[in-house]
């Protein structure tokens, strides 16, 4: 970990609840957490524990009820709806479980979408899109529609879309949840490369222990509370089939890289 860089994400005493049927339902309670720039962090926990909620807060898709939340020095709680949208477009890349590509657009056009919000010219956009598709190994599928691609390929298009704007943070909510082992490994390898080669900070929500074990840092959430924050020996995530049984070395749960 690069100790010189300031942390990218700083969360202090974060609360989030949803109103349902007239009463407040707490989802996240008193979460404090920091994530360093360039970290690869896995977030695990039982269904309904608040993983997606936490990820959405960090990625600026939702707003907390209380607490401090700054990402890259920006206090997300102070931004207006429009400012938040612009901030997301600049700083966050999104990967979802069900790919969430627009079915009527080709792979190329899907990847181009986030660039339409930038002042880039058509030619510059094309260069960026082609580079992104090359990175995920889909240069030959540019003109294919999502329906003509396999799940793994669709997820690679989604990754290309997430990285085409060169964001600082990549939010991935169960990106391998719908894929077979091999496709999942491809996706995880790609994400590792984004982390190690391009220095992207990645937050990976997953139910798959094998996927989580690739991450140097693992956080467990249960019923809206952060119960464990553990680090691997590994300094960075590892490619391909993971060595089984990487020894656990649980430091006391706490913030700070």
């Amino acid at each position: 970990m690069n100790e010189v860089k300031p942390p990218l994400v700083v969360i202090e005493h974060l609360y989030k609840s949803y109103r349902r049927g007239g009463q407040d339902l707490p989802v996240l309670e008193d979460i404090s957490l920091t994530i360093g720039d360039g970290e690869f962090l896995a977030l695990m926990g039982p269904s309904g524990s608040g993983k997606t909620t936490l990820l959405n807060l960090i990625a600026g898709l939702d707003r907390p009820n209380a607490g401090r939340l700054t990402v890259g020095g920006t206090d997300l709680t102070q931004l207006s709806e429009a400012q938040l949208a612009a901030w997301r477009a600049r700083h966050v890349g999104f990967i979802f479980q069900f790919y969430q590509l627009i079915p009527v657009l080709t792979a190329f056009e899907n990847v181009e979408l986030p660039l339409l919000l930038t002042p880039l010219s058509r030619r510059e956009r094309r260069e960026h899109v082609e580079l992104a598709l090359e990175l995920v190994g889909l240069s030959d599928r540019k003109a294919h529609y999502p329906g003509q691609l396999s799940g793994g390929q669709q997820q690679r298009v989604a990754i290309a879309r997430a990285l085409v704007t060169d964001p600082t943070l990549i939010s991935a909510d169960e990106p391998t949840g719908d894929l077979d082992r091999d496709s999942a490994n491809e996706i995880l390898d790609l994400m590792c490369r984004l982390n190690t080669d391009f220095g992207k900070t990645i937050i990976l929500v997953t139910h798959d222990p094998e996927a989580a074990s690739r991450a140097p840092r693992l956080i467990r959430l249960i019923k809206g509370q952060l119960i464990r924050d553990e680090r691997n020996d590994a300094r960075s995530c590892h490619l391909a089939a993971p060595e089984p049984g990487a020894p656990e070395n649980p430091p006391p749960a706490g913030p700070g890289p």
Binding site: A85, R88, Q100, V104, P114, L117, D173
Partner: protein
């Protein structure tokens, strides 16, 4: 982003196809109904603001003595006076009905400058006592050529009138009726003098052309005052009022047609709104993704509006294109009833404008819905 509107509109070919067809049929119906209404009112639109009709105060079926002619002409502010009678005859067969008017042709045709007649035909017509002039459409309908003998059997005035076609007139505007026939009143009067002397020297109406539109009122009053308390009192009104009076009975029907034409637009608005709402509901997840990527509600509204307008535009254009053959069909098959069937640019423009308005209206609700979709909630439903 426009690409997205375009692709979305083709996403469900059947649904889009049906919506476009519905749109087209509605625009077609709208234009056709408006044209029917315009046909009814054609007489009014061509009515000149300086022409007055003097008729018997009792009713249109009562006549006036020809001797009024000179007395009307003597009044100040009057440019021309002419007179005519409705012949109500048939040609060969009873179903071949078209308006025939026996009038004082030299003045009658001068009062109707909208009837355009070649000068050589005009002089031939005026020189032949049995001569007649027919509108271009009427002549086309029966294949008449100049010099043809045309026999009219009278009903209002009994007898057979053997006429010679000496001239064909055309209208100087599409709203001018080209389905009438005019012949010399004197020729009619000769026969009447022999067969029913008490109906001789009586005319159906006088047409008066005043010097300027402001004189319509005062001159009307003067004429009616002059013949007050005489054997045949007169009622004088502007030509437009006269024509309107004739079609006032049908006013209710016309109103109904108008209402229906707008109802049709209302129906199509619902159809398109439904299509758009259905599509938008299916795509809430996609809209949420676009929002996630940083797109704003106005971008989404643009995509939705684009799709709605595309559908409306395609339907509207198709409807307008279909209107031309439909109007032509109406015109030819119903030429007895509607001698003028004017498809105006205004109708076409209105057809297009309403379809675009429908396109915009139909997009409002889905656009509002899409702009309100909460990202976290919508993604939760799909993912």
């Amino acid at each position: 982003m426009f690409k997205l509107s375009w692709r979305n509109s083709l996403r469900h070919p059947l649904r889009s196809g049906l919506t476009i067809s519905g749109m087209a049929v509605a625009v077609l119906a709208f234009c056709l109904l408006r044209t029917v209404v315009a046909a009814w009112y054609a007489g009014v639109t061509t009515a000149s603001p300086v022409r007055l009709v003097v008729r018997n105060a009792v009713s249109l079926t009562f006549r006036l003595p020809m001797s009024y002619y000179a007395r009307i002409q003597a009044l100040p502010g009057i440019k021309r006076v002419t007179y005519g009678s409705w012949v109500g005859g048939t040609y060969i067969d009873e179903k071949n009905f078209f308006p025939q008017i026996a009038g004082h042709l030299p003045t009658y045709l001068a009062i109707y400058p909208e009837f355009v007649i070649a000068s050589d035909e005009m002089s031939a017509l005026l020189q032949d006592r049995r001569g007649c002039v027919a509108g271009r459409k009427l002549a086309e309908r029966y294949g008449w050529r100049l010099g043809d003998l045309i026999t009219i059997t009278g009903t209002a005035y009994p007898g057979r009138y053997e006429l010679v076609l000496r001239a064909i007139y055309r209208g100087d505007a599409p709203t001018v009726d080209e389905g009438r026939m005019y012949f010399h009143y004197d020729f009619l009067n000769e026969t009447i003098k022999k067969r029913m002397p008490d109906m001789a020297d009586m005319v159906g109406w006088f047409m008066v052309q005043v010097d300027s539109p402001e004189l319509v009122g005062p001159v009307s009053e003067q004429i009616d005052a002059m013949f007050a308390n005489s054997l045949a009192e007169t009622k004088t009104e502007s030509e437009a009022a006269f024509v309107l009076g004739m079609i006032s009975m049908t006013e209710a029907i016309i109103l109904a047609i108008r209402v229906v034409s707008w109802l049709v637009i209302g129906v199509i608005l619902m159809v398109l709104s439904n299509t758009m709402a259905m599509s938008a509901r299916e795509r809430l997840g996609e809209y949420a993704v676009l929002k996630t990527l940083g797109f704003r509600p106005r971008h989404l509204a643009g995509v939705i509006l684009g799709e709605s307008l595309l559908l409306a535009l395609m339907g509207g254009i198709l409807g307008l294109v279909l209107t031309f053959p439909a109007v032509y069909l109406f015109k030819t098959s119903l030429s007895q009833y509607f001698r003028v069937f004017p498809l105006t640019n205004l109708t076409l423009a209105l057809g297009m404008a309403t379809s675009l308005a429908v396109g915009v209206l139909a997009a409002l609700f889905p656009a509002w819905q899409a702009s309100r979709v909460g990202i976290a909630e919508a993604l939760r439903k799909v993912g």
